[in-house]
Symmetry: C2
Subunit: 235 residues, 2 copies
C-alpha cells in the first residue's frame, strides 16, 4: 500500500529544519531504523555531504539513521531495499535531471508503489505529482522530461503563497502562474501552504497541518480545501 | 548596428501598460511607422488578439501601428522586413517554445544583428540573453532548448526583487535562486528591477530608468550597478 507524507516545506518560519514535522515523522517511520536520503535537489547549491549532515541531525532526534544515496555504490539497490525514503527540497529541475541521469525514476516509483514509506518536502513533494511543471524553481539545468513519479493524480505547488493585496510588484502572482499552466495543461494542482502536508495511504489523500489548501482546475475558479479533509480529486 | 531596449517589465505600479516607457520609445522608434509584435508569451494565458489590442492601444499614443506576427502568413518575412520589433512579456517557456516551433529564432537573431530596432519587456528581454534559464516563470510547456538570442553576453533576471527582511515565507529568495543557477552555470546575470531597462547600441550596454541593478557572477558576491552606468560585463 502506498504510504507517503508530502510536505510543502521542510522548515517553517521560526523553527529548525523539519522540527514542525518530527512528531508526525516519529509515527510515520515508527518501524524504520534507517532511511535512504536523496539529496539531489541541493537547496542553495549546498553539497550532498552538507545536506546529509543537516538531515541526519534532524532525524537523530527521533532515533533514525540517515543513509544518503550519494554514498551508495548500488543506488538502485539502496532504493529497492530502503526501510523508508526521504527526498529533500531544493531545485526541482536539478532533482529531476539527476533522478533521470541515475536511472532512478522507475525504481523509485516501483518501490513506493510496493509500500516503502516516502517522505517528500518541497521539490521532493513536487515530484510525487504527475509532472514537475508547477515548481517555483528556476530552470538551471535541462531535464530530459518533466514527467515525474505520479504517486498522486494531480500536481503540487509547494510553498503556495496567496497574492499580497498591498504589493506594488508587477511580476506574476502564484495564482496567475497556475492559470497560465492551465492554459496548456489539464492536470489539477494543489497549492500547499507552508506548514501543510498530504498524508497519502494508497488512494486516500488527506490534507494535514491545520491550514487550508488551494485547488486549481482548468477552466474553473480555484477553491479552498479544509485541513483534515480528503482531497477529492475526482470532483 | 544592434539597437535594443530591454525592459524589466511592461508596466510599473500605478500606471498603464508601457506608459512609463513611452517617452523613451517615441525616441527609440522615431523613424518607425509600424512595428511587428510577437505576442507568443501570452501573459495570464491571454489570446494573441487580446494581447495585440492592448499593445496597439499603447503604441497608438505615439503614432505607431502594430502588426502582430500571428496575423502574418509569412512570419519569417514579417521579421526580416520589420521596421521595428517588439517581443512582449508573459511566460518565457511558452515564448521560447513557439519561437523554436515557428523556426523564428535564427531569423530574429539575424534581423536584430543587422540593426532592426528591438524592444523586449520581461520575457521579451529574457530571450535577449544567452539562455532563458534565469526566468521566473513556470515550466508550463517543454521547449526544445533553453538557448536564446544572445544579443547581450549575459542573462537577465526580469522583475528582480530584493529579499524582504520581514518575510516569514521559506521559499527561495531571488538571490538564492540565482546562486543555485551559478552552481551549474557560469553566465553572469543582471537582476533588473521594475522600472529599469537596458539600452543596447551594438556592444555598449547602459542601464537606464533611475534605479540600480544587481549583477551576479559565479563564485563572487553580487554587486550593484548604478543607473546610467555602462554594464561592464568584461569585469
Amino acid at each position: 500500500m502506498k504510504n507517503l507524507i508530502l510536505a510543502s516545506t521542510s522548515t517553517i518560519y521560526g523553527s529548525k529544519y523539519l522540527e514542525y514535522l518530527l512528531p508526525e515523522l516519529k509515527i510515520f517511520f515508527k518501524n524504520v531504523n534507517k532511511i535512504t536520503f536523496v539529496p539531489y535537489a541541493r537547496p542553495s547549491g549546498i553539497s550532498y555531504e552538507a545536506y546529509t549532515k543537516i538531515v541526519s541531525t534532524a532525524f537523530k532526534t527521533i532515533d533514525i539513521e540517515v543513509n544518503s544515496i550519494h554514498n551508495c555504490k548500488d543506488k538502485q539497490h539502496a532504493i529497492e531495499n530502503a526501510e523508508g525514503i526521504f527526498v529533500g527540497g531544493g531545485n526541482t529541475f536539478v532533482l529531476v535531471k539527476e533522478l533521470y541521469d541515475q536511472k532512478l525514476m522507475g525504481i523509485l516509483k516501483a518501490s513506493i508503489d510496493k509500500g516503502i514509506p516516502y517522505l517528500g518536502t518541497s521539490a521532493g513533494s513536487n515530484i510525487a505529482g504527475q509532472t514537475m511543471q508547477t515548481t517555483n524553481d528556476m530552470p538551471i539545468v535541462y531535464p530530459p522530461s518533466y514527467a515525474t513519479l505520479g504517486f498522486i493524480p494531480f500536481n503540487i505547488n509547494a510553498h503556495y503563497l496567496d497574492p499580497d493585496p498591498t504589493s506594488k510588484h508587477k511580476g506574476e502572482t502564484r495564482e496567475t502562474r497556475l492559470k497560465e499552466f492551465h492554459t496548456y495543461n489539464s492536470i489539477p494542482v494543489l497549492g500547499l501552504r507552508e506548514g501543510s502536508w498530504l498524508e497519502v495511504k494508497e488512494n486516500k489523500i488527506i490534507l494535514k497541518g491545520g491550514l487550508s489548501a488551494r485547488w486549481f482546475q482548468k477552466g474553473k475558479l480555484p477553491i479552498e480545501i479544509g485541513s483534515d479533509k480528503i482531497v477529492n480529486y475526482k470532483s
